[in-house]
Symmetry: C2
Subunit: 587 residues, 2 copies
């Protein structure tokens, strides 16, 4: 069976982990949480019934390229049209431009669904969302009035043109050039690679956001400007840009990854977004939400892998489980398979909680909490991006494992999810870069007060577990308290290193620290959901989902969170490898 | 650059971790350790220069199938011929049948090399080795004289026909049938799936070992017999068997994975190997070495991924490393990339040590140590198989990550290694089954004395670290002692559960226990190599590889081994999830 959006779990997480009701009360959207759930249910239908069935088709069919033209797989145009006509491209965007104007929290849940159904499909609106955000924040009124409505509706799509062969994670080496044309426009020349949906047949126009250097611009990243370069110019003619080739990729075959050539004929026409030489700042504006969206892609594909593995484990019969009356059991009855499935489910739910919590910060930044909420979102963003996509790799690989030999056969579809997921930890800033961002830029926010407040919030959850006292939580309270201790000590260690005269001593521990943060924050999210369910049970509710949430919080705390201790140890005493000449890594 | 067999590291591990000199002294092979190293160097040349260059070709070309015929990729026939002519198929086999009669230790190193060069290629002799072992141990003299020499030379290849669609991990549901024909032969009918090299063009004959049921055989696994069913009969005619299709797989595209149809024309002719209804016992004979060989596949592909990532990290320049005088550094200068590379290198070396130690047990079983060594090999085998292939998945995925966006592009070849490696944790008994085997069959060996002796041996290594006292070991001694404590307590807990009236309570902890065992044993192996290097340095040797081995033992102990504590906790207090109805996993 295909992906079914877990609307009930998503809604429960939105309400009891990420405070949906408060976000709605404070937002201008004027909808109640029941309306929000109805919207999610509607999105879930589109995701499950229309978009998910195209996932395997896209993988097999790819996006054939000929004469500069890219054709998406059969059914994709129709599905994209349904997506646009439903207004789903504009969930987050302002009603001034035709959007629904809903909070980030709702948009996050929708993003998770599109991508759970079909990562390659979900990428297209994800890129457009980034374009909308950059344009809305930094574009001139003229540019906005020309492009924003069509991007919000999804009639046109957007791309991000950053990477060049010599400039990947490090954009300082960018070589694409821009020259003023005298009429307010610029002529753009250069070659870009890894441009997602750089060319396709889903929309009549593609709005490329391109980083390039003006003549005499300062070298490095302070000399980069951002330009809007449309495929079709306002007068209806084709701009001087083309797709010069497609990558042959490990996964997400349904989405074209293009090499783009700008200005072969003398220069593509573009318009400046924001100020000259301030292009990176414009990109940073949308970085929080773009990185969060990639994290949500991880949650979505992990959920899809879990559902597929669970379906298979219920069907496939091999061996007799101890104590079973049947001679041959469904493999879901074996403890080892249960461990794999629950690991998948628990990591997915934890990552969902972290992502939604991050979205909540983006929403609350517009309310009375203001900057503190924005800073919290900034702190959580690298964790949301990297933890969610790391676990997406692990969960999709476990999904293959649950399928046994069938998992290695492409027809089953489990392997596709693993292939597709593999890019998530790489693009939009590799997960190593997320870890460096977390440690070197986010921990020091407000002198460490932002991370301190977040750890204090986790402590309140641990205290809640102690107070609740339901035996079904097992050792969860103790484990969470221990994990918070691990995180707290590691945080202090890194903050001290950053304040020392050798701040680079914090770098060797960055990756394990991000994992540690994700584990403890994820455990706290599951505990919050579990506590809400425990309260509901005490209030007489009988939905079996409540007991399942408590059990999942317990499973995570008892089986996955204990890795925290080893991570703390690696951070505090394992950094000696960096710069150790004994390894002679540099050859 | 392509795979280069790390002959120096392999030889060092063979001598200082796995006691090569003692094995050679006791073996009938009458070669010195210098001869052994010369043999490895020669094998390394064939692996690196002939077999490795075919890896990408096999991936792209696959094994086209038409009219029942399978064609391997261009160059594969010639490479296989060179492999056979060099005598490499017979490294382990008895000189009575034309083999080299070398110890398992040497064969293990060679197996690692063929598979490091090219997993899809290495699989073919790996299967043949299993056939040789089963036939040599259980075949009649007539069968042996007809088939053994040709299999040892590699002129003919062998397959294992176990799996059927309804019978994967659980062979009790096997349906293929055999009927005595009156002339000593049997008529075999049935369908098999996932038959590696079931049909190909590398050899003139293919010797299928087929599990099937005799009429009136007891149900379940006690009614399964093993038959030798050749593709070409002794009279030169084709047997009644054919390849009915190939799987479309995630990886190892260069090796055909066949569906086989036996007896469409009335019955394929086969001969019984061993006794009727004792087929599974015959398979068990070769299980230790077959599983060890799959573990070595994991080591080989992990090594290949490490080499590729290191080469890339030395070339690719992005960002300025702290303290670097250059404006842009090779990415190998960044701490995060160093952590990834060292994690790859350390896991690979640890798994190599475990695999070689296992091979040593197989060799020593033929010497004065006898059964104790055999039992030690039995204990270590599931760890060698599962830990090595789990880390192969992790290491090959890290290899993709080091490549950044390039890692997701198939041309780079990093993604292929990840795709290829993914089967290793599944075939020859899934890694979950290895964990169950370790806990329920191997821990109780000799009332726990076998595992106890192994833990005692690890303790001696930890004491050696304390005694050595070289500062370059950092916290390695303390960490190893702690890890051994984790393993010791987890072992006692599981042995107690097994002895209780609910032995199934040991199952939920099986997978984390195997990981724990692998981590601690792997750390001990690296420490043994480090101690030998430390002694060499103290004796005045100046090879920089010595300092690198000490640093690697330290890195593993300080950064990877600390996961042991969390694993112990999960084993001791995390098993409550099994049979918890709250999860409603069974639907």
């Amino acid at each position: 069976m295909s992906y079914r959006a877990p609307v009930e779990e998503m809604a429960f997480t939105l309400r009891h982990v990420a405070g949906l009701d408060a976000v709605l009360a404070q937002s201008g959207a004027e909808i109640a949480s029941e309306d929000a759930v109805a919207i999610l249910a509607e999105a879930g239908r589109l995701a499950g019934e229309v978009i998910a069935p195209l996932n395997r088709i896209g993988d097999r069919h790819g996006t054939p390229f000929s004469d500069g033209t890219v054709t998406t797989a059969p059914g994709w145009r129709e599905a994209y049209r349904a997506f646009v006509e439903g207004g789903w491209n504009g969930v987050l965007a302002s009603p001034d431009h035709g959007g629904m104007g809903l909070p980030h929290l709702i948009a996050a849940a929708c993003t998770e669904m599109w991508n759970g159904a079909n990562l390659a499909f979900g990428l297209c609106p994800l890129l457009t969302a980034g374009g909308i955000e950059a344009l809305a924040a930094h574009g001139s009124d003229a540019l906005k009035s020309r492009y924003l409505d069509k991007l919000v509706s999804g009639e046109w799509t957007a791309t991000m043109n950053l990477t060049e062969p010599q400039a990947g994670s490090d954009l300082s080496g960018l070589r694409s050039r821009a020259e003023p044309h005298g009429d307010g426009s610029y002529r753009i020349t250069g070659a870009k690679i890894y441009i997602t949906y750089g060319e396709h047949d889903l929309a009549d126009n593609i709005v490329h956001l391109v980083l390039a250097r003006l003549k005499d611009a300062p070298s490095g990243t302070r000399g980069i400007s951002l330009f809007l370069v449309p495929k079709v110019l306002p007068d209806g003619t084709r701009n001087d840009l083309r797709c010069s080739g497609l990558e042959h990729k490990l996964g997400i075959h349904g989405s074209p990854t293009c090499s783009m050539a700008f200005g072969d004929g003398g220069g593509a026409t573009g318009w400046l977004i924001g100020e000259e030489n301030r292009g990176l700042a414009c990109m940073f504006t949308m970085m929080n939400s773009a990185r969060l969206n990639v994290g949500l892609q991880g949650v979505g594909v992990a959920e899809a892998a879990y559902q597929k593995a669970l379906d298979y484990a219920r069907e496939r019969r091999q061996g007799r489980a101890p104590g079973s009356p049947e001679p041959v059991s469904a493999i879901v009855a074996h403890a080892d398979v249960q461990r794999m499935l629950l690991t998948m489910k628990a990591y997915t739910a934890a990552a969902r909680g972290i992502c939604y919590l991050t979205a909540q910060g983006l929403d609350a930044a517009h309310g009375p909490e203001g900057k503190a909420a924005h800073d919290r979102a900034s702190l959580l963003t690298p964790v949301a991006k990297a933890f969610s996509t790391d676990i997406a790799n692990e969960v999709t690989s476990l999904g293959v494992q649950v399928h046994g030999g069938m998992g290695f056969v492409e027809e089953t579809g489990a392997a596709q999810l693993m292939r597709d997921a593999r890019i998530l930890g790489i693009y939009e800033g590799t997960n190593g870069i997320q870890a460096i961002d977390l440690v070197t830029r986010k921990l020091p926010l407000n002198g460490g007060a932002t991370v301190g407040a977040q750890i204090a919030a986790m402590r309140r959850v641990a205290e809640g577990l102690l107070k609740d006292g339901a035996p079904a939580f097992g050792h969860a309270a103790a484990r969470l308290r221990e994990g918070i201790g691990n995180l707290d000590r590691a945080t202090s260690f890194l903050l001290k290193a950053l304040a020392s005269n050798r701040p680079q001593d914090a770098l060797p521990g960055a990756a394990p620290y991000l994992r540690l943060f994700g584990l403890v924050q994820g455990a706290a999210c599951l505990a919050m959901a579990g506590l809400a369910s425990s309260a509901a049970l005490k209030a007489g509710e009988t939905d079996p989902a409540h007991a399942a949430r408590i059990a999942l919080a317990r499973f995570f705390a008892e089986n996955l969170l204990p890795a925290a201790g080893g991570l703390e140890q690696a951070i505090l005493t394992g950094g000696g490898f960096a710069e150790d000449p004994a390894f002679a890594l540099a050859g």
